[in-house]
Symmetry: C2
Subunit: 190 residues, 2 copies
Protein backbone atom coordinates (compact mmCIF):
# COMPACT_ATOMS: atom_id res chain seq x y z
CA UNK A 1 0.00 0.00 0.00
CA UNK A 2 1.38 3.44 -0.89
CA UNK A 3 2.54 5.61 2.03
CA UNK A 4 0.16 8.42 0.96
CA UNK A 5 -3.18 8.41 -0.83
CA UNK A 6 -2.30 8.23 -4.52
CA UNK A 7 -4.83 8.25 -7.38
CA UNK A 8 -6.34 4.84 -8.23
CA UNK A 9 -5.62 3.13 -11.53
CA UNK A 10 -2.15 4.61 -12.00
CA UNK A 11 1.09 2.82 -11.13
CA UNK A 12 4.68 3.68 -10.23
CA UNK A 13 5.80 7.22 -10.97
CA UNK A 14 2.59 8.01 -12.82
CA UNK A 15 0.57 7.79 -9.61
CA UNK A 16 3.03 10.12 -7.82
CA UNK A 17 3.03 12.57 -10.72
CA UNK A 18 -0.76 12.64 -10.89
CA UNK A 19 -0.82 13.36 -7.13
CA UNK A 20 1.41 16.44 -7.62
CA UNK A 21 1.22 17.83 -11.19
CA UNK A 22 3.29 20.88 -10.15
CA UNK A 23 6.41 18.76 -9.71
CA UNK A 24 5.43 16.34 -12.52
CA UNK A 25 6.00 19.04 -15.13
CA UNK A 26 9.77 19.57 -14.62
CA UNK A 27 10.24 15.84 -13.87
CA UNK A 28 8.76 14.95 -17.27
CA UNK A 29 10.64 17.71 -19.08
CA UNK A 30 13.91 16.52 -17.55
CA UNK A 31 13.49 12.90 -18.60
CA UNK A 32 12.35 13.98 -22.08
CA UNK A 33 15.41 16.14 -22.78
CA UNK A 34 17.78 13.62 -21.17
CA UNK A 35 16.51 10.45 -22.84
CA UNK A 36 14.86 11.67 -26.04
CA UNK A 37 16.25 15.15 -26.78
CA UNK A 38 18.88 15.82 -29.46
CA UNK A 39 22.00 13.78 -28.61
CA UNK A 40 24.78 11.77 -30.22
CA UNK A 41 23.68 8.88 -27.97
CA UNK A 42 20.63 7.08 -29.36
CA UNK A 43 17.43 6.92 -27.28
CA UNK A 44 18.07 3.16 -26.97
CA UNK A 45 21.55 3.73 -25.51
CA UNK A 46 20.26 6.32 -23.06
CA UNK A 47 17.35 4.09 -22.01
CA UNK A 48 19.85 1.27 -21.35
CA UNK A 49 21.74 3.58 -18.96
CA UNK A 50 18.47 4.51 -17.21
CA UNK A 51 17.44 0.85 -17.02
CA UNK A 52 20.79 -0.27 -15.64
CA UNK A 53 20.84 2.38 -12.88
CA UNK A 54 17.23 1.54 -11.96
CA UNK A 55 18.25 -2.13 -11.77
CA UNK A 56 21.18 -1.26 -9.46
CA UNK A 57 18.75 0.73 -7.28
CA UNK A 58 16.40 -2.29 -7.30
CA UNK A 59 13.41 -0.25 -8.49
CA UNK A 60 11.04 -2.74 -10.15
CA UNK A 61 8.81 -0.21 -11.87
CA UNK A 62 11.60 1.92 -13.34
CA UNK A 63 13.85 -0.91 -14.51
CA UNK A 64 10.88 -2.66 -16.13
CA UNK A 65 9.30 0.33 -17.91
CA UNK A 66 12.65 1.78 -19.04
CA UNK A 67 13.78 -1.71 -20.04
CA UNK A 68 10.63 -1.93 -22.17
CA UNK A 69 11.25 1.51 -23.71
CA UNK A 70 14.88 0.52 -24.36
CA UNK A 71 13.79 -2.69 -26.09
CA UNK A 72 11.19 -0.81 -28.15
CA UNK A 73 13.97 1.60 -29.21
CA UNK A 74 16.33 -1.29 -30.10
CA UNK A 75 14.32 -3.36 -32.58
CA UNK A 76 12.40 -5.06 -29.75
CA UNK A 77 15.59 -6.74 -28.51
CA UNK A 78 14.46 -7.70 -25.00
CA UNK A 79 17.33 -10.18 -24.66
CA UNK A 80 19.88 -7.38 -25.05
CA UNK A 81 18.23 -5.42 -22.24
CA UNK A 82 18.36 -8.49 -19.98
CA UNK A 83 22.01 -9.05 -20.86
CA UNK A 84 22.97 -5.45 -20.09
CA UNK A 85 21.37 -5.74 -16.64
CA UNK A 86 22.99 -9.09 -15.89
CA UNK A 87 26.49 -8.45 -17.32
CA UNK A 88 26.89 -5.41 -19.55
CA UNK A 89 30.62 -6.04 -20.13
CA UNK A 90 29.67 -9.07 -22.22
CA UNK A 91 26.58 -7.63 -23.90
CA UNK A 92 26.48 -6.85 -27.61
CA UNK A 93 26.90 -3.10 -27.21
CA UNK A 94 29.73 -0.71 -28.15
CA UNK A 95 32.84 -0.41 -25.98
CA UNK A 96 31.99 3.28 -25.58
CA UNK A 97 28.59 2.43 -24.11
CA UNK A 98 30.25 -0.09 -21.76
CA UNK A 99 32.55 2.68 -20.49
CA UNK A 100 29.55 4.99 -20.02
CA UNK A 101 27.63 2.27 -18.15
CA UNK A 102 30.62 1.89 -15.83
CA UNK A 103 30.54 5.64 -15.10
CA UNK A 104 26.77 5.39 -14.48
CA UNK A 105 27.33 2.54 -12.02
CA UNK A 106 29.82 4.72 -10.11
CA UNK A 107 27.35 7.63 -9.98
CA UNK A 108 24.73 5.24 -8.59
CA UNK A 109 27.04 4.58 -5.62
CA UNK A 110 27.77 8.29 -5.19
CA UNK A 111 29.24 11.09 -7.33
CA UNK A 112 32.70 10.88 -5.80
CA UNK A 113 33.10 7.27 -6.97
CA UNK A 114 33.64 8.43 -10.57
CA UNK A 115 37.39 8.59 -11.24
CA UNK A 116 39.46 10.51 -13.80
CA UNK A 117 40.48 7.07 -15.15
CA UNK A 118 36.83 6.07 -15.72
CA UNK A 119 36.30 9.27 -17.71
CA UNK A 120 39.59 8.93 -19.61
CA UNK A 121 38.64 5.38 -20.59
CA UNK A 122 35.27 6.56 -21.97
CA UNK A 123 36.96 9.41 -23.83
CA UNK A 124 39.56 7.09 -25.38
CA UNK A 125 36.67 5.02 -26.76
CA UNK A 126 35.13 8.08 -28.42
CA UNK A 127 32.85 9.55 -25.75
CA UNK A 128 32.44 13.34 -25.95
CA UNK A 129 32.17 15.71 -23.01
CA UNK A 130 28.44 16.08 -23.62
CA UNK A 131 28.00 12.30 -23.64
CA UNK A 132 29.92 12.00 -20.36
CA UNK A 133 27.88 14.86 -18.86
CA UNK A 134 24.62 13.30 -19.95
CA UNK A 135 25.62 9.87 -18.64
CA UNK A 136 26.36 11.35 -15.21
CA UNK A 137 23.09 13.28 -15.18
CA UNK A 138 20.98 10.35 -16.43
CA UNK A 139 22.45 8.14 -13.69
CA UNK A 140 21.94 10.87 -11.08
CA UNK A 141 18.39 11.54 -12.25
CA UNK A 142 17.44 7.88 -11.97
CA UNK A 143 18.79 7.85 -8.42
CA UNK A 144 16.05 10.46 -7.91
CA UNK A 145 13.23 8.82 -9.90
CA UNK A 146 13.91 5.42 -8.30
CA UNK A 147 13.85 6.87 -4.77
CA UNK A 148 10.67 8.81 -5.59
CA UNK A 149 8.88 5.69 -6.84
CA UNK A 150 9.98 3.41 -3.98
CA UNK A 151 10.05 6.07 -1.24
CA UNK A 152 6.29 6.54 -1.62
CA UNK A 153 5.75 2.77 -1.90
CA UNK A 154 3.84 3.19 -5.19
CA UNK A 155 1.93 0.24 -6.62
CA UNK A 156 4.11 -1.59 -9.18
CA UNK A 157 2.24 -4.44 -10.88
CA UNK A 158 4.13 -7.43 -12.25
CA UNK A 159 2.56 -7.50 -15.72
CA UNK A 160 5.07 -7.78 -18.58
CA UNK A 161 2.49 -7.07 -21.26
CA UNK A 162 1.48 -3.76 -19.63
CA UNK A 163 5.08 -2.51 -19.49
CA UNK A 164 5.73 -3.74 -23.05
CA UNK A 165 2.73 -1.85 -24.44
CA UNK A 166 3.58 1.32 -22.51
CA UNK A 167 7.22 1.05 -23.48
CA UNK A 168 6.31 0.98 -27.18
CA UNK A 169 4.06 3.98 -26.73
CA UNK A 170 6.64 6.11 -24.90
CA UNK A 171 9.29 5.13 -27.46
CA UNK A 172 6.92 6.37 -30.19
CA UNK A 173 5.38 9.46 -28.58
CA UNK A 174 7.73 10.59 -25.81
CA UNK A 175 7.33 11.24 -22.08
CA UNK A 176 5.77 14.68 -22.16
CA UNK A 177 3.05 13.72 -24.67
CA UNK A 178 2.09 10.55 -22.82
CA UNK A 179 2.17 12.27 -19.42
CA UNK A 180 -0.02 15.15 -20.59
CA UNK A 181 -2.80 12.65 -21.08
CA UNK A 182 -2.78 10.91 -17.71
CA UNK A 183 -2.04 14.10 -15.81
CA UNK A 184 -5.03 15.80 -17.45
CA UNK A 185 -7.25 12.85 -16.56
CA UNK A 186 -6.01 12.90 -12.94
CA UNK A 187 -6.52 16.66 -12.59
CA UNK A 188 -10.03 16.39 -14.07
CA UNK A 189 -10.79 13.70 -11.49
CA UNK A 190 -9.90 15.96 -8.56
Amino acid sequence: MPHIELPDGLFGIRSAMAFRPETAKPLNELVEVLLRGPSSLTPGERELIATYVSYLNDCYYCQTIHGAIAAASLNDDEELVKRVKADFQHADISDKLKALLLIASKVQKGGKHVTAEDVEQARSLGATDVEIHDTVLIAAAFCMYNRYVDGLATVQPHDDEMYRARGKRVAREGYVTVSTEYLAAATAGR
Copy 2:
Protein backbone atom coordinates in the same frame (compact mmCIF):
# COMPACT_ATOMS: atom_id res chain seq x y z
CA MET B 1 39.89 19.40 -11.87
CA PRO B 2 36.45 18.73 -13.39
CA HIS B 3 36.05 15.54 -15.41
CA ILE B 4 34.85 17.53 -18.45
CA GLU B 5 35.61 21.05 -19.68
CA LEU B 6 33.22 23.26 -17.71
CA PRO B 7 32.93 27.07 -18.11
CA ASP B 8 35.47 29.08 -16.09
CA GLY B 9 34.37 31.30 -13.23
CA LEU B 10 31.34 29.22 -12.24
CA PHE B 11 31.29 26.69 -9.41
CA GLY B 12 29.40 23.58 -8.37
CA ILE B 13 26.10 22.96 -10.14
CA ARG B 14 26.21 26.35 -11.85
CA SER B 15 29.18 25.26 -13.96
CA ALA B 16 27.40 22.05 -14.96
CA MET B 17 24.19 23.92 -15.76
CA ALA B 18 26.03 26.50 -17.88
CA PHE B 19 27.66 23.63 -19.79
CA ARG B 20 24.24 22.18 -20.68
CA PRO B 21 21.46 24.80 -20.56
CA GLU B 22 18.97 22.31 -22.07
CA THR B 23 18.98 20.21 -18.90
CA ALA B 24 19.50 23.24 -16.62
CA LYS B 25 15.99 24.50 -17.39
CA PRO B 26 13.99 21.60 -15.89
CA LEU B 27 16.57 21.20 -13.09
CA ASN B 28 16.03 24.82 -12.02
CA GLU B 29 12.25 24.61 -12.40
CA LEU B 30 12.18 21.49 -10.25
CA VAL B 31 14.17 23.01 -7.39
CA GLU B 32 12.14 26.21 -7.58
CA VAL B 33 8.75 24.48 -7.26
CA LEU B 34 10.05 22.04 -4.62
CA LEU B 35 11.84 24.51 -2.34
CA ARG B 36 10.12 27.83 -3.04
CA GLY B 37 6.73 27.06 -4.62
CA PRO B 38 3.44 27.27 -2.68
CA SER B 39 3.63 24.86 0.28
CA SER B 40 2.59 24.51 3.91
CA LEU B 41 6.28 23.89 4.66
CA THR B 42 8.28 27.13 4.80
CA PRO B 43 11.20 27.67 2.40
CA GLY B 44 13.47 27.48 5.47
CA GLU B 45 12.11 24.06 6.45
CA ARG B 46 12.46 22.74 2.91
CA GLU B 47 16.00 24.12 2.58
CA LEU B 48 16.90 22.34 5.84
CA ILE B 49 15.75 19.03 4.31
CA ALA B 50 17.82 19.75 1.17
CA THR B 51 20.84 20.72 3.28
CA TYR B 52 20.59 17.64 5.48
CA VAL B 53 20.37 15.22 2.55
CA SER B 54 23.31 16.97 0.83
CA TYR B 55 25.27 16.63 4.07
CA LEU B 56 24.46 12.89 4.22
CA ASN B 57 25.64 12.58 0.61
CA ASP B 58 28.82 14.48 1.57
CA CYS B 59 28.39 17.08 -1.19
CA TYR B 60 30.30 20.16 -0.05
CA TYR B 61 28.87 22.61 -2.58
CA CYS B 62 25.22 21.63 -2.09
CA GLN B 63 25.23 21.38 1.70
CA THR B 64 27.00 24.76 1.93
CA ILE B 65 24.91 26.74 -0.55
CA HIS B 66 21.61 25.24 0.65
CA GLY B 67 22.72 25.69 4.26
CA ALA B 68 23.30 29.36 3.43
CA ILE B 69 19.90 29.68 1.74
CA ALA B 70 18.29 27.93 4.74
CA ALA B 71 19.98 30.34 7.16
CA ALA B 72 18.97 33.33 5.05
CA SER B 73 15.38 32.04 5.16
CA LEU B 74 15.53 31.51 8.96
CA ASN B 75 16.55 34.95 10.29
CA ASP B 76 20.22 34.27 9.48
CA ASP B 77 20.34 31.47 12.07
CA GLU B 78 23.49 29.69 10.90
CA GLU B 79 23.81 27.87 14.23
CA LEU B 80 20.46 26.17 13.68
CA VAL B 81 21.61 24.90 10.29
CA LYS B 82 24.79 23.49 11.84
CA ARG B 83 22.78 21.85 14.60
CA VAL B 84 20.37 20.20 12.16
CA LYS B 85 23.29 18.70 10.26
CA ALA B 86 25.05 17.48 13.41
CA ASP B 87 22.03 16.22 15.39
CA PHE B 88 18.60 17.24 14.13
CA GLN B 89 16.77 15.32 16.87
CA HIS B 90 18.07 17.89 19.39
CA ALA B 91 17.78 20.99 17.20
CA ASP B 92 15.26 23.74 17.88
CA ILE B 93 12.83 22.69 15.15
CA SER B 94 9.30 21.26 15.26
CA ASP B 95 8.70 17.58 15.98
CA LYS B 96 6.94 17.38 12.61
CA LEU B 97 10.09 18.59 10.84
CA LYS B 98 12.17 16.07 12.80
CA ALA B 99 9.88 13.27 11.55
CA LEU B 100 10.19 14.57 7.98
CA LEU B 101 14.00 14.76 8.27
CA LEU B 102 13.99 11.13 9.39
CA ILE B 103 12.01 10.18 6.28
CA ALA B 104 14.45 12.20 4.15
CA SER B 105 17.39 10.33 5.71
CA LYS B 106 15.75 7.02 4.78
CA VAL B 107 15.20 8.17 1.17
CA GLN B 108 18.88 9.12 1.01
CA LYS B 109 19.77 5.47 1.73
CA GLY B 110 17.22 4.22 -0.80
CA GLY B 111 13.47 4.52 -1.32
CA LYS B 112 12.66 1.14 0.21
CA HIS B 113 14.12 2.21 3.57
CA VAL B 114 11.08 4.41 4.28
CA THR B 115 8.68 2.45 6.48
CA ALA B 116 4.95 2.79 7.12
CA GLU B 117 5.91 3.57 10.75
CA ASP B 118 8.12 6.50 9.67
CA VAL B 119 5.22 7.93 7.70
CA GLU B 120 2.69 7.26 10.46
CA GLN B 121 4.93 9.06 12.94
CA ALA B 122 5.13 12.14 10.69
CA ARG B 123 1.37 12.07 10.15
CA SER B 124 0.67 11.83 13.89
CA LEU B 125 2.73 15.01 14.33
CA GLY B 126 0.63 16.87 11.78
CA ALA B 127 2.34 16.17 8.45
CA THR B 128 -0.01 16.12 5.46
CA ASP B 129 0.21 13.79 2.47
CA VAL B 130 1.56 16.64 0.33
CA GLU B 131 4.24 17.42 2.93
CA ILE B 132 5.25 13.74 3.04
CA HIS B 133 5.29 13.58 -0.76
CA ASP B 134 7.39 16.72 -1.02
CA THR B 135 9.84 15.50 1.63
CA VAL B 136 10.38 12.25 -0.29
CA LEU B 137 10.84 14.13 -3.57
CA ILE B 138 13.14 16.81 -2.10
CA ALA B 139 15.34 14.07 -0.59
CA ALA B 140 15.29 12.10 -3.86
CA ALA B 141 16.04 15.23 -5.92
CA PHE B 142 19.08 16.06 -3.81
CA CYS B 143 20.36 12.52 -4.31
CA MET B 144 20.37 13.62 -7.97
CA TYR B 145 21.79 17.14 -7.59
CA ASN B 146 24.54 15.92 -5.23
CA ARG B 147 25.59 13.14 -7.62
CA TYR B 148 25.51 15.57 -10.56
CA VAL B 149 27.79 18.06 -8.77
CA ASP B 150 30.28 15.48 -7.47
CA GLY B 151 30.03 13.04 -10.41
CA LEU B 152 31.48 15.72 -12.72
CA ALA B 153 34.05 16.75 -10.08
CA THR B 154 32.94 20.39 -10.30
CA VAL B 155 35.06 23.08 -8.62
CA GLN B 156 33.70 23.80 -5.12
CA PRO B 157 35.59 26.66 -3.41
CA HIS B 158 35.76 26.82 0.39
CA ASP B 159 34.70 30.45 0.80
CA ASP B 160 32.01 31.00 3.43
CA GLU B 161 31.37 34.59 2.41
CA MET B 162 30.65 33.63 -1.20
CA TYR B 163 28.06 31.02 -0.19
CA ARG B 164 26.54 33.43 2.37
CA ALA B 165 26.09 36.18 -0.23
CA ARG B 166 24.66 33.78 -2.82
CA GLY B 167 22.42 32.20 -0.22
CA LYS B 168 20.88 35.57 0.62
CA ARG B 169 20.34 36.32 -3.02
CA VAL B 170 18.65 33.01 -3.86
CA ALA B 171 16.48 33.33 -0.72
CA ARG B 172 15.38 36.76 -1.98
CA GLU B 173 15.06 36.19 -5.73
CA GLY B 174 14.65 32.43 -6.27
CA TYR B 175 16.51 29.83 -8.30
CA VAL B 176 15.04 30.47 -11.74
CA THR B 177 15.70 34.23 -11.62
CA VAL B 178 19.28 33.86 -10.44
CA SER B 179 20.00 31.04 -12.91
CA THR B 180 18.63 32.98 -15.87
CA GLU B 181 21.44 35.47 -15.38
CA TYR B 182 24.42 33.12 -15.27
CA LEU B 183 23.00 30.82 -17.93
CA ALA B 184 22.54 33.79 -20.30
CA ALA B 185 26.12 34.92 -19.65
CA ALA B 186 27.44 31.38 -20.28
CA THR B 187 25.44 31.00 -23.49
CA ALA B 188 26.63 34.42 -24.75
CA GLY B 189 30.21 33.32 -24.10
CA ARG B 190 29.88 30.25 -26.34
